[in-house]
Symmetry: D3
Subunit: 333 residues, 6 copies
């Protein structure tokens, strides 16, 4: 059976020259608005010939470097700076972004596990479906900004995936290098089911992503990395005029599952190493204190391998099953 058309309608013209601001309007009948809609802001810029870049933030709603760089770009871009087309969606999972939560407050959907989506599914699935069937097919280059959100913190990095198609892979890593984050990562996705990344890559798009900090905040430093990297990437991709402002970067690999350490106990977490610190295999990276009594010894959490601490649990309280730390391995590019 032919899938139904997407219920989402754009109020911008994807083909019109110049800068257009508008919405992706998704009808959403609910108790507080029988004939309500979800209005996701979008900017489209067309100028001359050139590739199309699809730029997104807030795939998870509590990650802020991407939205800052993209709301800023949308507010300042001039058509004459562009050579091709920009499609800017600063807050991809808009209901989650508006609620400042990772997942959608409407259906608790994790947008980055909802692809390819469904036109007749939940709100999050409808958004995924629109990207899958309408926006991704228009794009040549896709940049999806992530950060750690409220519960994780990362060394700021730009990344792409190891892919079967080595030309596609090389094109992506060229853009990672141009982005110029302090760190760059080669990712081998273990469980790629339902990801936006996978959806884009399976269509042959050049896909680049980031993790630029976390904790549900953005600093001047991390926002600066996002803005500078965005402009560099667009220039390198041939969609914006200008020069790439080269930045030094260090490369990290995440070779296997030993990179990830999980807590088996809940409690108050004291880290013994910070982001960027080198650790040995088995070295304690954190201790977890039980909090219902005083006088009890904490449980120690050892590193699963030697390397650099590249991500960590953020909240002061940890729950059984939470990822405590990720240890990466620094490599030559």
């Amino acid at each position: 059976m032919q899938p139904a058309p997407s219920p989402i309608a754009a109020t911008v013209d994807f083909a019109a020259p110049g800068v257009g601001h508008g919405f992706l309007r998704l009808p959403h009948s609910r108790d507080d608005a029988a004939w309500g809609s979800i209005m996701t802001p979008i900017t489209v810029v067309n100028n001359g010939e050139g590739p199309t870049a699809l730029l997104t933030g807030a795939n998870h709603g509590d990650e802020y470097e991407g939205p800052i760089a993209l709301f800023d770009l949308a507010a300042t871009v001039r058509a004459e700076d562009v050579t091709g087309r920009l499609i800017i969606v600063p807050a991809m999972n808009y209901p989650a972004f508006a609620a400042a939560t990772r997942t959608s407050p409407i259906d608790r959907g994790n947008l980055n596990r909802s692809f390819p989506g469904r036109p007749d599914g939940t709100v999050t699935q409808k958004i995924a479906d629109y990207f899958q069937r309408v926006l991704l097919p228009m794009a040549d280059v896709v940049l999806d900004f992530h950060s750690g959100g409220k519960t994780l913190d990362f060394l700021p990095y730009c990344a792409a995936h190891i892919l079967p198609d080595k030309r596609q892979q090389a094109a992506a890593f060229d853009l990672v290098r141009a982005f110029g984050a302090p760190w760059s990562v080669r990712m081998l996705e273990i469980d790629a089911v339902g990801m936006y990344d996978t959806a884009a890559e399976e269509m042959g798009k050049v896909f680049v992503t980031t993790e630029l900090g976390g904790g549900g905040t953005a600093s001047a430093r991390t926002a600066g990395i996002a803005k500078r990297g965005l402009r560099n990437l667009l220039v390198a991709a041939g969609v914006m005029r200008g020069e790439v402002a080269a930045q030094p970067t260090r490369w990290l690999d995440m070779p296997d599952a030993d990179c990830f350490t999980f807590a088996e106990d809940g409690g108050l977490i004291e880290f013994l190493a910070d982001l960027g610190d080198a650790v040995e295999k088995g070295q304690p990276v954190a201790r977890i204190f039980p909090v219902t009594r005083t006088g009890l010894a904490p449980v120690t959490v050892p590193a699963g391998r030697a390397g650099l601490m590249m991500a960590r649990h953020f909240p002061g309280i940890v729950k059984p099953g939470d990822c405590v730390a990720v240890i990466g391995v620094e490599v030559d590019e």
Copy 2:
């Protein structure tokens, strides 16, 4: 009328020699426990003659450096290290700490605005009353750990108040200096009504406090500052044996209300300066993007005075009325 006795009963003996672990038990009849209680962990250490130090964390429930230092101290302290008495309450507003929220989930009480409390009031007022009438009178020295919590971030500092009694003030600043945080602050409290600080100081106690980070997390670095500062302060106060491990510190003043900048608009906040950065009066410290549309210019938030950014709003989204930044002035000690 004579006030009623506190409903809180301690299961530890404040006079017994050695290390005792127990609870402050506060009966709390509620829907899910008709004869339930709130059990706040407490450790008391008595050894020989000497002053009494009352040590508290989680006055606000989402601040973690203090609880880490105090759960650690309670689990490792040996009676023979003490010369006098330690009263350790790692999580002063225990219901808030258990819920990982600033205020109590039971009555939304802000413990640090609830003094002197009431024995027949809300749960938070009953806790305040117990400190006011039972624990503070036992103490000579009081150390109350704070951090920024989930919504603020601070340069790590130890602080005391400008007081009418200059001997009391000097004793407090001696301990601030011994604590040895990277920053030390002289505070002139504008609105001190209901604070634990004020309750302690009005009884003539030597009162020291901290702000050691924020965002609802603790790093290895900030937890280390708390643990080292705690031990230094106890040694300097004559309650623990050992040597003060001297640390360099820089001093800040908060001269007047111009230090505080408030947002009049809500939206996505992009900081233009980070903690510790020097700013000029009127220099933009942040920009706030409206998020319901793309293409709109952000509102700029200027510094109210020249100085160093010593605290900032943490979440990526700001609401009208939120404090955006605090600018302090570095001074000689």
Copy 3:
């Protein structure tokens, strides 16, 4: 695979002569009732030969004219007034009706977008499935009462759809005319997927619906329209004895998508025209004031076409994406 039988069991006998009151019992295991059920009231009246009319209200749970007319009919109807069969379900989405919400509090299901339903799906899908496979097949004529609910307000009208089968369409409009609401509407449904209307019409049933007011209330006037119209329709359909009490009506068309105006901004809404007012294309029908500051100019919302304002947003606050107004075109019958 053969679909499972419906889990719903009726406690009334659809074939028994006379007036029977009972329930549609739907087992619903939940935290507050391991072996609980949803009990939807139903009345069945059988007398002699004649068609079967299936009469429903509260398809959306916050619409009241239909339930008033149907609870009243069920309480007063005498078997001897009937010639055929009445199946009366005054509150079709009973959980929503009991909660006074548009959608089901159990699964947030919008019953009128849940057809054909599933016997093993959500509660709302199980209700849809029972109507789809049990009740609709019994019916010749279907009347489904709607009103605007808490968030919309309508000129009171009775309506039927433009259909491919012109005989079926004519039969429906005969009943619309007999109903005799102040307004009558010819509807061309754009997105009919999942609707009860579509389910009935695809089975060849004569289907009539209404919009009789809104705001989550019913006035004496609109309840009177529902009660009088119900009786007229049943007489005209040959299911009740009596005479049609002819009422004048005016006809409206909704020719295209320009009838619908959506808000792009949220705020305090001031209407500049009321239900029934004539407006010109482009004429402002409402203004939206931002509410976070005073002194700002409101945004104007223009009519998308000339015509009569036949529906409007109801709450005093409007959100981006809400339908502000519907403009219909008065036509000769």
Copy 4:
């Protein structure tokens, strides 16, 4: 003991000439903003000599005619139109207005039962205290807009109270007459404890109020009554230049407690009379259907006295104890 000063600070200058827009900033420390504030928009207009009018809406947060008229006035008023001073607070209980609820979402406070308030009380009490001790003393004339909110509907009227001081009373009724609502009411408040009305009148202010509709909406008609009446009243009070645009009005009395009819049963309510209809004593004004079964007779609700239905319950479902209707008596002025 001297009461503490109000924690609220105004960002507008009440004495500055011209039109000033700003906020009443009330610090409000909470889980999602440790140093947050409630920002209530305010406009002050000063021009030459003349009385001060204090104008308020959204004393209850779900009443909209007042906010529409006052946001509109604040956005359009020119200093040269004023002779004296206007203090405009379109949303007096701003947290309730922002939540679209009658009472405050923070403390469930009903602002109009919270006077004289407390500077150290709940948020709602702090707002009341600021009006009591800061704003009311500045005023000569006070206009407080009300409507029925989401759960009541009223014939649109302007009103003042029967007062012991007949000069004060006459001044108020002069303004009621000038306002020119379709209906005007002489109110004898039975339980005036905690009301803003009482606070103003006890200070000798000329106090006028309204009920201009209800249901949690505003129509073009009722918003027009508010805007026209506001301008008329300000002209009549000598605070604005211009002419009173005279409007006919009819007068109602509410002589005693028999005016109010309460439901003893819950269920689906069918009104038998609408606003403005004349009823006899004992005449049924509504019927209440039980909704857990079909086939049961409704309970009848009789009028407690003869007169005009001037207010009614709004939602389609009524609960035991709800006021069903208010019957007023039309009188000569």
Copy 5:
């Protein structure tokens, strides 16, 4: 200052002969009913000369034996059976009873800790005030039914307090004996502040109470004890005609605080003794399993004294601070 009159109005006449059913109407303005009320059902029976008995259930809203006995009495009592006056309020904290919770869903008030109440306080305080100032003064004998509620379970007993006035005490124990529950208890209240018991006894009333089971249910057996005991007590008190149906009872004392055992640990609770079992001092009465891991030994909870287990924690999960068991001592009467 003279306290304000109670806002509660009774719709029954306390002096009228015969059986009267009605309500205590407490106005309660709230978001879902601007002019709503709380309607507490009440029955008054007057016949001839004799004492007044005030009979109450659901002082805590999740206790059912009392409401069963009192709704039953109100529905079946004939005036001619009475010699004096009965005032029957089957659900004293009606909002809590309607929500099936111990405390009020409106203000979380524990009615039995809210005396003497306030006419201008919370809803629960207003109810307490009405009993304090209106109903208790009318009464000679007061019977207040309790059970364990959802979180406790009790051996079924009737009880009165050890009082300074030995005549008052004796009169109460005469009624306890007449009630004839399987167990009878002499209570020495340790913390009587705010209790209804204390309010009644301080006015010199003869006050009797019960604990008749628990778990938030009532069995045929415990409901039978309540109904039989109620009738016996009323006959013994001279308010109803008839004979006391004598029942055997056993007497328990609760000599001191060692009767109560509290949990210091949370987890899955396994009882090792049941209600009515004899235990020795130090004998384990329960074990608490941690539930986050398998393989850990449970914590043992010892009896604080020798005696009979007369009450226990009910839910399968226990929290730190919950009362696990109460051990009473059987005594001769």
Copy 6:
């Protein structure tokens, strides 16, 4: 399409000799833990040759006899007592167990209606899928403990199903007999869709279940039945060394749908018979009092057949559609 592998990973080795404690780790990305997991405790015991018994509790999260027996077994079992393999999962629906609710707080899933589950479905479906595809295939014998939970109460019984395969059926009833609960039941499941029972039986496993009490509690007596029965069953199944401690049991049948009585009315329920009481067909087993007024007669609920009351509604308040009582028929074994 090949189904995806389960996302659940076990941290125990199912083949390792001896006693192993660990977790089933199910990744669960959510707002409070971006990289969080659900950690279900599990114990595996391997020793020598013999069958595998899969032992589960808390299939519904508010049933406690099973978890007590299984946490106890996991904490005390020695490898040398086992002849074969034990797989012990004391809390099968761990999120529900942790929340003390029947269904999962994450997705409201009823685990016992979620089989065969889905690896890419809801959390509850993922758990079902893991049992379906990983654990059940390893097992020879399956014991799934149930009790009534918070809303039902049962005579304590062990049970198995009437099955088409009479050898499989006989093996199950042998274990029921060995279990030795006070009651034993032969169940003919009417609606077996989605049940764990069905999943196990369709794979040819020997499946035994229980209902051992209810009300959301466990008594010493019912916990003792569970522990003794568990050991007996494991011995009889040849998985543990030892002797079956024979217990007398009485047998019940549930012949048809007349065993189940449902309420059509809500209110306060008074039972007229208790668990274990014999009733005649049509005999009132309960009465339901309306609670909005006093003075109304209760509705009577008759037994649908003669027999023994073997289960009943537990809470003091009943809702329309709740099962009030189950009447079983005692039979010879």
